[in-house]
Amino acid sequence: MMGLLEAAWVIARRDFLATVYSRTFVIFLMMPLLLFGVAFAAGQAGERADQEARQAQVALVVDSQTVAALQQARDALVAGTSELNFPRLSVVAPAEHPDTQAQALLADDSGAYSAVVTGTLDHPVLTGPAKIDDYIGRRMALILDEARARAALAGAHIALPPTQFRRVLTAEAAGNLHSVRHFMARSAQVIIFTITLLLATMMVTNLIEEKSNKVIEVLAASVPLDSVFFGKLVAWLGVSLLGITLWAGVLATLYLFTQVLTQWVSLPVAPAIGWPIFILLTLLYFTSNFMLLGAVFLSVGAQASNVKEIQTVSMPITMMQVMFLLLAGTTISATGGALFWTAFIFPLSSPLSMIALAVQSETLWPHLVALVWQFLWVAIFVRVAAIMFRQTVMKSGGKVSLFTAFRAKA
């Protein structure tokens, strides 16, 4: 018998080269751009539309001096925050009876005013329904306060210069680090989860093609199915690592380029365990996560006979994996409890939980234990996947017990 690894290497090499030289790989490389591009564009467009819809419009039915004072005050406040944080102000020429005019403006469908301000800076009147008090009322009060303060200072001939801090620099602030690492941990989990899911689906599609090509019969007659599955996992892992390397290269180049342009070169906030070990652990946890989930996909996905069926059988696994992502997410904020420990111990959530730990804790030994634990499960999952494939797809009904499943088999 060819050695398991030798046979797996033959399969892995073929699959790797076939995939890298195919259109699938180009699509895979483009996938993050497409995903993030579409998500970003949709998010941006949606957010802008939402915010514009949410931004209220207030009619100013006041004299021109008051209009100027209010608009200056608003501009000053907006400069420190965001245009969208304050209602838009529209000037309406005052009529003979401002109160009646205000009622008419609010009743007019085409005007789309949420409130109307009449009166003066010192005696303003805000007309509108009660529900505007929390948002429009408070913000209009801020604008009026600012306008009145400016008018008072101008009346007293006082000019306040802008505040200048005396800066005392520190390397980092704990609160800031915590916040950034929280974000970093969450991002690492989501990135590993997304790439794994994407690749696992592509890998199963590839297996189905082999089933329809009848190549699987040739493979099964030549090498153990464990080698076929392991080889496929290694090949697709190689494909993903190549893709990740390319993406990382592009991102690093862009990052450095922007740093050089701004003449300020620095590394982003480091994970607690340090960049070199974090990068190594990311690769290792990605590997274990991919191989664990890939083995599950292979065992279940291989039951499908076409791509449409894959989507059906993949759906429950994907949903389960989303739950494991959420489970792993609890480890970012929590520090104990049943869910917290389950997330670390359960094989399918362990890699995602551990990568978050690497971001937030500098202790190394738990990673060594976790990796041994996870790769043990990789071996178990691959073995079970091969047995399931042999039993259900190849219709080979040899008796399987816990003992026979894991002894050396030809």
């Binding site: 018998m1 076939a18 090509n213 040739v218 030549s222 219709k395 040899g398």
Partner: protein
């Protein structure tokens, strides 16, 4: 006869509660060309897949080149499955080399041997052509080369002639003979009897998941008595008493099985009875006749029609 390259005892296999193979015993001598004959659905493919370890039998034992676990002999076995399987994007040379690599042959040697095989067989123009651009017959030839590129001691071919035109069938027969001449054991399944008749020393006839005959082709033929064909000048006479009871006349010829006692007592009876022998021939039965006698008329008809999927249920 050499030591068995393949030996199987009592192989049984069921799918979804239906027995596809019901206790197969086979012994394939090393260096022989061995045919497994039977209609479609007889259990040939299932038997071969069990012998190779692709599927596990429900019960029974088998050894492949002395190995109880067939995959342990993978490096010295070649297998052409009934349903051909190649990667469409691979070139012909790479496909051959890959199949060799699966059996432990280094890729560079596989590529060289693949190119030689292709050139030797008039396919030099297709060395670097992707499989998807080749005809079905040509792709099948490529897969066959992939089956033997690592110079196996045992080659298992499942319905190797199906899908090939007459010229390629002839080439394949030559290739099988060449491999056997080089000491390789060949076992192939077929539902076309004349391939087995031309190539095999030994055969197994499978029908309904059971072995109906296992042994030399000549022994299968010997199951039937030779057929005597006689034309006598005299229509009546005492010679008629020398004819066996089942002799029948058609178009002026008498036909019957050669009696167990042999030709001499028959000739004596005919001559003494004044038959006036005008023509007399003794024909040895063909494998087809033997198959009909062994497996039954229904199986033979299905072999001829190529529709035997239901036979296993009926048998």
């Amino acid at each position: 006869m050499g030591a068995p390259a393949i030996e199987a005892r009592g192989l049984v296999k069921s799918f979804d509660g239906k027995e596809a193979v019901r206790g197969i015993d086979i012994a394939v001598p090393e260096g022989s060309i061995y045919g497994i004959l039977g209609p479609n659905g007889a259990g040939k493919t299932t038997t071969l897949r069990m012998l190779l370890g692709i599927i596990e039998p429900d019960s029974g034992t088998r050894t492949l080149l002395g190995h109880e676990r067939p995959l342990e002999a993978a490096k010295i076995v070649g297998y052409l499955p009934e349903e051909r399987g190649l990667y469409p994007a691979m070139t012909a040379k790479e496909a051959i080399a890959f199949m060799g690599a699966l059996r432990g042959l280094p890729l560079d040697i596989g590529r060289k041997r693949g190119e030689i095989l292709l050139r030797q067989n008039g396919l030099a123009d297709y060395v670097d052509k992707p499989i998807k651009t080749l005809s079905k017959g040509m792709a099948q030839t490529i897969q066959l080369f992939g089956t033997i590129v690592h110079k196996p001691k045992l080659v298992v071919l499942d319905e190797p002639f199906s899908g090939l035109d007459a010229i390629n069938q002839g080439r394949l027969e030559s290739l099988i003979r060449d491999e056997a001449a080089a000491g390789t054991t060949i076992i192939f399944s077929t539902h076309v009897i004349h391939h087995a008749e031309r190539l095999c020393e030994r055969i197994a006839i499978i029908a309904g998941g059971r072995i109906r005959f296992e042994g030399l082709v000549s022994a299968a033929r010997d199951r039937l008595r030779p057929q005597v064909r006689l034309k006598a000048r005299n229509a009546e006479g005492g010679w008629r008493g020398a004819l066996p009871a089942d002799a029948r006349e058609a178009n002026g010829f008498w036909q019957f099985e050669l009696p167990k006692e042999g030709i001499e007592p028959l000739l004596k009876g005919l001559m003494d009875g004044g038959a006036g022998i005008e023509e007399l021939s003794i024909e040895r039965p063909g494998l087809h006749d033997a198959f009909v006698a062994i497996a039954g008329e229904a199986a033979a008809r299905e072999m001829a029609d190529g529709v035997g999927a239901e036979f296993g249920k009926a048998a």
